[in-house]
């Protein structure tokens, strides 16, 4: 129980430390991007406006949460070692495992809050745009039949909000949580924050090609042994980030089946647990 309290204290402290670092300023950029976008695309048809608003907002959400996960996590361990704060914490009866878990919990809290805020902002802009278009449509079809008006309004509402957006956003969170846990693992043996950031970014790109490498490896075929060896290493050592890449299709209106959504979230959870476990093993033996 005491260990859990200690973990929570470290987690909360990590979260407040990140908030004090003014990381939420990126939300201003996000707001500018989506509000500016909706002003800029006013000359497009409403279907195009909504499509682009969703494309840019969810794309930006995915980029910002991934960057935040990597940058916020990569600096913690090296910074705590440099500032010597880690010695103060670990001198108390706090196991290294709890220390790492607290750090990860704080970062996950920050990611969840950031994604919630971005989602709120995005939905508010989408709702306002929808509201404007609906008012315009009502005014334009004021003299028409009720059936015609209802069909036109339905076309507007169909192209704005759909409930599939929520599973898509939840999967963005799962992907950023995975990246945070992965970066934490890298930072346990990294000599500097920069090294961990560069490694995480490289893995981010390789991870998006992991499924291609896996399919190549598993398909067999008449290829050089070293090509297959390379593909197998990529498939085994790197996370499959394409598995979390549903946003493009969700924007296009494709629904994520519940089973697939739950399994993808579970895969995200497994990756987070695996990287955290490995981070704990390396960190337990690290000379401080």
């Amino acid at each position: 129980m005491k260990s859990l309290q200690g973990t929570w204290a470290i987690g909360w402290n990590t979260f407040t430390e990140l908030v004090r670092m003014k990381v939420f300023y990126f939300l201003l950029i996000f707001a500018l991007l989506i509000i500016g976008n909706s002003a800029f695309v006013a000359k497009f048809s409403f279907q195009e406006q909504f499509q682009m608003l969703k494309d840019i907002s969810l794309g930006a959400m995915s980029v910002f949460s991934s960057i935040l996960a990597i940058l916020a996590t990569a600096n913690f361990l090296p910074k705590d070692i440099e500032d010597r704060t880690i010695y103060t914490i670990l001198a108390k009866p706090v196991p290294r495992f709890s220390y790492l878990l607290g750090k990860l919990a704080g970062i996950l809290l920050l990611l969840a809050l950031s994604i919630l805020l971005m989602t709120g902002l995005f939905l508010a802009v989408l709702w306002l745009r929808e509201h404007n278009v609906l008012s315009e449509t009502r005014a334009q079809l004021a003299g028409g039949s009720a059936e015609e008006l209802a069909a036109a309004l339905k076309e507007v509402t169909d192209s704005t909000f759909n409930t599939n957006l929520f599973p898509g956003i939840a999967i963005i969170f799962a992907k950023s949580a995975l990246l945070a846990s992965l970066t934490l693992f890298l930072s346990t043996f990294a000599s500097s924050g920069l090294f961990a950031i560069l490694m995480a970014i490289a893995i981010y790109f390789i991870g998006h090609l992991q499924s291609t490498a896996r399919e190549f490896w598993m398909a067999g075929g008449d290829v050089h042994w070293w090509s297959r060896l390379l593909a197998s290493l990529v498939a085994l050592l790197f996370p499959d980030l394409q598995a979390f890449n549903f946003v493009d299709n969700v924007i296009a209106g494709v629904a994520i089946p519940t089973g697939l959504f739950l399994q993808t979230m579970a895969l995200g959870g497994i990756y987070v647990a695996v990287y955290f476990f490995l981070a704990a093993i390396v960190f337990a033996g690290r000379e401080l």
Partner: protein, 255 residues
Amino acid sequence: MRRVMKARRSLAVLLLAGFGAALLPLQVHLSAEAKVANLRQGALNLDLRERIGQMGFLAALSGFRSPLAAFLWIEVHTAWENTEWGRMAGLFDTVTTLQPRSLLYWDMAAWHMAYNASVAVMQDEKQPSEALRIRAQRQYFELGRDLLERGIRNNPDKYQLYLQLGVLLRDKFEDHCGAAEAFMRASEFPDAPPYCRRFAGYEMAKCAGRERESYELLKKLYLEGDKQRLPTLINVLRDMEKKLDIPAPERVENP
């Protein structure tokens, strides 16, 4: 201590590979399920790499296809304002490759090519040869058709592009048999609007050899009730009755 650290790092890498192997079946299963649910995008090719540049290709590979498509769509609009039809055609190819599941991009791209570009080249004062203007116009019709057909191949589960293909074949190609087929395919979807079947009937009436089928379909629609008894439907039905020499007692009554 360093030796311990090294041993732990090696253990971590081994465990990572072990976990990777254990997760393979789940990854393969999820990938297959995503493909079934149309949630797995097609592979990007080197042709796209040439069109969007290295940075764009990297962004597309990293899961940022949709924002990239949105930015390129803004470029499409600029090209449209400058009536750069050739550039628009190239951009449409790129945008639809990046976001093949977005019906809007296919639909708008086909509309721009078949309805806007085709009219613009026909009115091109810089081209004195009418034959060449007609040829250019036909090429833009074909581009529109190609975009819709590719859109359908990427979205076989949606009626909208079949409907647009029917309209294009009817209005620009005067291919009534093809249009009837496309409208019929659209009407088979449960969420398709009821006019898809009417449109199919009208086009079948103009397709040699399918007059009887058209008559039967339109009569069936007529018998469904007032909602389907539109002036065009009644007129086409009457024409078919005359053409097929339907006996008077079998003909529809005057509404």
